[in-house]
């Protein structure tokens, strides 16, 4: 499971994390993604980086399905703290409460944070 905790564009973590997710998928790993804290901003619809002169990598999240990466989990508390709703997100996700997320993390073979 890849645990994403950082907003996109302010640092390279989000983009690098996504690259690693794609590489793992190429090696047939059973991949799941968790979005907690500022990581939920990575999935917000309508990202437009043209004026900022950066690469908008958010469409890649929509392509994950094609790599059989379909387990995307978003923490409810993180959304609520930021005034974001499930309808604001650009992909289908499963929204979990913090306790459920903690339990899910506890079941993973490997956890990699970005």
């Amino acid at each position: 499971m890849f645990v994403n905790r950082k907003a996109p564009y302010g640092s390279v973590y989000a983009l690098e994390g996504l690259e690693v997710v794609l590489i793992s998928a190429a090696f047939d790993q059973d991949v799941s993604l968790a979005f907690i804290d500022d990581g939920v901003y990575q999935l917000v619809k309508g990202q437009d980086t043209k004026a900022a002169g950066m690469k908008n990598f958010s469409p890649t999240f929509r392509a994950l399905e094609g790599y059989d990466i379909e387990k995307l989990y978003v923490e409810r508390e993180a959304l609520e703290a930021r005034g974001i709703t499930e309808a604001d997100l650009l992909v289908e996700v499963r929204v979990l409460g913090r306790g459920e997320m903690a339990a899910l993390m506890d079941e993973q073979d490997v956890l990699i944070g970005f």
Partner: protein, 97 residues
């Protein structure tokens, strides 16, 4: 699970988020800038430790910052060998970057 935190709780929310996801039987190890959370003066940063979660701090990082004498109660200071033992004792590791 062994949770590893390396950022000061005064600068980032890594420790708070880690503690919010830690469960009974887990261990939390404070290294690098996170060792400041292990001092008596920063006790508030560890107020939300769930029951059954054990706390450790990497002594060399605490000593490097001149904070060894300020270690709060209930936190075990360990060396690099102890770090390895912790990793070996827990089924998985999560680093809160």
């Amino acid at each position: 699970m062994l949770h590893i935190v390396n950022k000061s709780p005064h600068e980032r929310n890594c420790l708070a988020s880690c503690l919010a996801h830690a469960r009974e039987g887990h261990a939390v190890l404070l290294i690098e800038d996170a060792v400041v959370a292990a001092t008596r003066g920063s006790a508030a940063s560890l107020a939300a430790v769930p029951a059954g979660v054990s706390l450790y701090v990497l002594a060399p990082d605490l000593q490097a910052r001149g904070l060894a004498s300020q270690l709060a109660e209930g936190i075990r200071a360990i060396d690099y060998r102890g770090f390895v033992d912790l990793v070996a004792a827990q089924p998985r590791v999560q680093s809160w970057l």
